[in-house]
């Protein structure tokens, strides 16, 4: 089943590879992955949707939390969270369908970001499932080209991020 994992990690080369490596070495397919900087430029926030054997879900989270660069990995699959995705869609449409396309886009809360004689470019954000329907509807009006951002998630109950304090090197030796 699909698991939604939210991670906060250090914004460092290789950090992404460590996280994805944990999944690929177990043969799990990543459905989507987004990563970007947080308010703190030294940190990134990542959302992964991945097809994980249900018995292995907590093991995967534990393994991620063990990664040195990962500050916190959380399973959002069944906890209160908002999950959103962005779709950019380009549609070629006939003159007579232009109004209908705009109306349909409006129903999904879409916004036209480019308009030409050939058609429109439209952006929509929403629940990933809803966006699937949007793409289906648009496809019925003409040829579409679609880019999806992958799911972005934020937990609704705030978990305080606990950072480990610096360690003086004096205590390291001996």
């Amino acid at each position: 089943m699909l698991q939604v994992i939210s991670l906060q990690l250090e914004n460092k080369p290789g950090a992404l590879m460590r996280v994805t490596g944990l999944l690929t070495q177990r043969g799990y397919n990543i459905e989507s992955l987004t990563v970007a900087r947080t308010l703190d430029p030294l940190l990134s926030r990542m959302t992964i949707v991945v097809d994980v054997d249900s018995l292995q879900r907590s093991q995967v989270i534990k393994q991620m939390n063990k990664l040195i660069n990962v500050l916190q990995a959380t399973d959002l699959t069944e906890s209160p969270a908002v999950i959103r995705e962005l779709v950019l869609l380009r549609i070629r449409t006939t003159q007579e369908n232009r109004t209908a396309v705009l109306k349909e886009a409006e129903i999904f809360g879409g916004r036209v970001v480019d308009s030409s004689t050939e058609g429109y470019a439209i952006e929509v954000t929403g629940d990933p499932e809803k966006l699937g329907e949007f793409v289906d509807v648009m496809s019925s009006y003409g040829e579409v080209d679609v880019t999806r951002s992958g799911a972005l998630a934020i937990a609704l109950d705030s978990k305080k991020l606990k950072l480990q304090p610096p360690i003086p090197t004096k205590t390291l030796v001996g």
Partner: protein, 574 residues
């Protein structure tokens, strides 16, 4: 305070600061600046003959002492050759730091000479790794590497350093602190859970301690011994935990698992409580998981949260350093009441039952009048060691017979590749162990297969006159594979015959080492004594019964109480 120096010198300074006294390595193009510094530096470099053996030697050093072992290799092939040793250390949680050279930062990604993506290749082979492209990042990376390697659940850490970083000149400012905001180490153990563990222990009628490599790594053998002394609970040590409870301790049963003893496996199967300490419920111990310790509640103490509940859901999970957890548990037990007579009687019956199992099917120590049986060889090594020598082992039948029949009365004496099962480990790990413990008698036992993977290291042993007693258990086969082919592949012995082994006397002699081959049982005791008396290294090639199999044996995927106790039918060579 700062001094102008090269990145390579900073590296050496940081190693010295970490208390490194020797590193095992092999130089090459991009590590030249570092080797130039080592030319006159307090950190001693031991030149091995293959990078894989540098990693194994570093492991031997770490396993014998608990200190971080260090190995070093150049870029490209040097680094890729290290990887088996890195994975080996990963599987057995051995703290080592590997230093590799990388091509100049501007050349990375250009398919430069001896370039390989070491950082990428070793990501899954290490606990953590670093790619350092600037000289001023070296000190931070090195101190972080040592800290990560040794703390929490130990493991290998690799630092890949570009040639220009080694050459770069700048002010060296000693690092005063490291910051790893996401690196969590759980040491104390939950007080409430420790209390619950205490409760379960004081109610159990048939308790059993199942103690593993984690107890060795945590230097918790004294606490384990105290626990066993206080409670009188029978104990099994896993392959990785041998010696944490002395083999001679009256409460010690022996090793459990695929080639464990009848008594150990029966005790696991019949216990009502497992006190699992620093173990990971490995498949070689548990056999079929569903049938493993089916009547037992489980207390699982491990420093790695991901191990707790990974293979078996414990009734009492305790994430913490087993040394500290045992200290707290021991205090509770020492202060608590002695078990009531009714329970004490049941405990005595349990101990008695285990004693009966031990007597029913002890390990096979049989000898023969005409041949040297492998069990005879291990029994003789045991006699000379008296539970006190370091024994490094390669992988295969000799490893299992060694683990069964040689006693270890202290931890860190039995050094073997447990998780990864890397052939070629036995000899180089002995080099590391002997450097770490020059005071100790070190046996290195190998099969004729594994020994031939390590022959080049005879040069390292000779050039440092390391007094390692190299014992080859020579049965002319890749014995363990042959055993499986015999038992599970209808005796079809495919590619397991080692029909050529060099003349040991000539081979050793070519390196200026004493060597001898024996094949008669009456030669064995005196030949081993002669090897031990020899002040330098000694190669003893012992021709043993060719077709002997290791028993007991739990077939892969079987329940551990369903052991094959002996040879089912005469084996034939096909």
């Amino acid at each position: 305070m700062s001094t102008l120096m090269s990145g390579a010198r900073m590296l050496a300074e940081c190693l010295a600061r970490e208390g490194v006294d020797c590193i095992f390595g092999y130089p090459g193009g991009v590590t030249l600046p570092f080797y130039d510094v080592l030319y006159e530096h307090q950190v001693r470099h031991v030149l091995v003959r293959h990078e894989e053996n540098a990693a194994f030697a570093a492991e031997g050093y770490a396993r014998a002492t608990g200190k971080v072992g260090v190995c070093c290799a150049t870029s490209g092939p040097g680094a890729t050759n290290l990887t088996t040793g890195l994975v080996d250390a990963m599987m057995d949680s051995i703290p080592i730091v590997a230093l590799t050279g990388q091509v100049t930062s501007k050349l990375i990604g250009t398919d430069a000479f001896q370039e390989a993506d070491t950082f990428g290749i070793t990501r899954p082979c290490t606990k953590h790794n670093f790619l350092v492209k600037k000289f001023d990042e070296i000190p931070q990376a090195i101190h972080e590497a040592f800290y990560i390697a040794a703390s929490g659940r130990p493991g290998p850490v690799l630092v890949d350093i570009t040639k220009d970083a080694l050459q770069g000149q700048g002010h060296y400012v000693p690092v005063t602190s490291i910051h790893l905001p996401g690196y969590k180490v759980f040491t104390e153990g939950h007080t409430g859970q420790i209390r619950r563990a205490f409760q379960l222990i004081s109610e159990s009628e048939r308790p059993l301690v199942y103690s593993g490599g984690g107890v060795v790594l945590a230097n918790a053998a004294p606490e384990l011994r105290e626990f066993v002394k206080l409670t009188g609970i029978p104990t099994v040590n896993t392959l990785m935990g041998l010696g944490s409870l002395a083999s001679d301790d009256p409460n010690y049963i022996s090793m459990p698992g695929m080639h464990g003893s009848y008594a150990a496996n029966m005790a696991l199967t019949n216990a009502d409580l497992l006190i699992a300490l620093g173990v990971r419920f490995d498949d070689r111990v548990t056999g079929r998981l569903a049938a493993f310790a089916p009547h037992a509640k489980v207390i699982h103490v491990d420093i790695d949260p991901a191990e707790v509940g990974k293979n078996r859901n414990p009734d009492v999970p305790i994430v913490g350093d087993v040394k500290r957890v045992l200290t707290k548990l021991n205090k509770l037990i020492a202060e608590g009441p002695a078990p009531e007579e009714k329970l004490a009687a049941k405990r005595r019956a349990w101990q008695h039952q285990i004693g009966e199992w031990k007597a029913e099917h002890p390990y096979d120590r049989s000898t023969s009048d005409s041949e040297i049986k492998p069990q005879h060889l291990m029994t003789e090594i045991d006699r000379l060691s008296g539970g006190q020598a370091i024994v490094t082992s390669d992988v295969g039948q000799h490893q299992m017979w060694g683990a069964q029949l040689i006693r270890f009365n202290e931890p860190r004496l039995w050094i073997n590749s447990g998780g990864l099962g890397s052939m070629g480990f036995g000899l180089p790990s002995a080099i590391g162990a002997q450097f770490a413990r020059p005071d100790k008698l070190v046996f290195s036992i190998c099969g004729d297969g594994g020994f031939q993977m390590s022959i080049p290291e005879l040069a390292t042993i000779a050039s440092h006159a390391l007094p390692i007693k190299m014992i080859v258990m020579n049965n002319g086969f890749l014995g363990m594979v042959r055993q499986w082919q015999t038992l599970f592949y209808n005796h079809r012995l495919s590619s397991v015959v080692l029909d050529c082994f060099p003349d040991a006397e000539k081979l050793a002699g070519a390196y200026g080492i004493k060597g001898r081959t024996i094949e008669k049982p009456w030669e064995l005791a005196s030949a081993l004594e002669e090897a031990v008396k020899e002040p330098g290294p000694y190669l003893l090639n012992v021709k043993v019964t060719p077709l002997e199999n290791v028993y007991p044996m739990v077939p892969a995927g079987g329940a551990i109480n369903e052991m094959v106790l002996g040879q089912p039918e005469p084996a034939v060579v096909g």
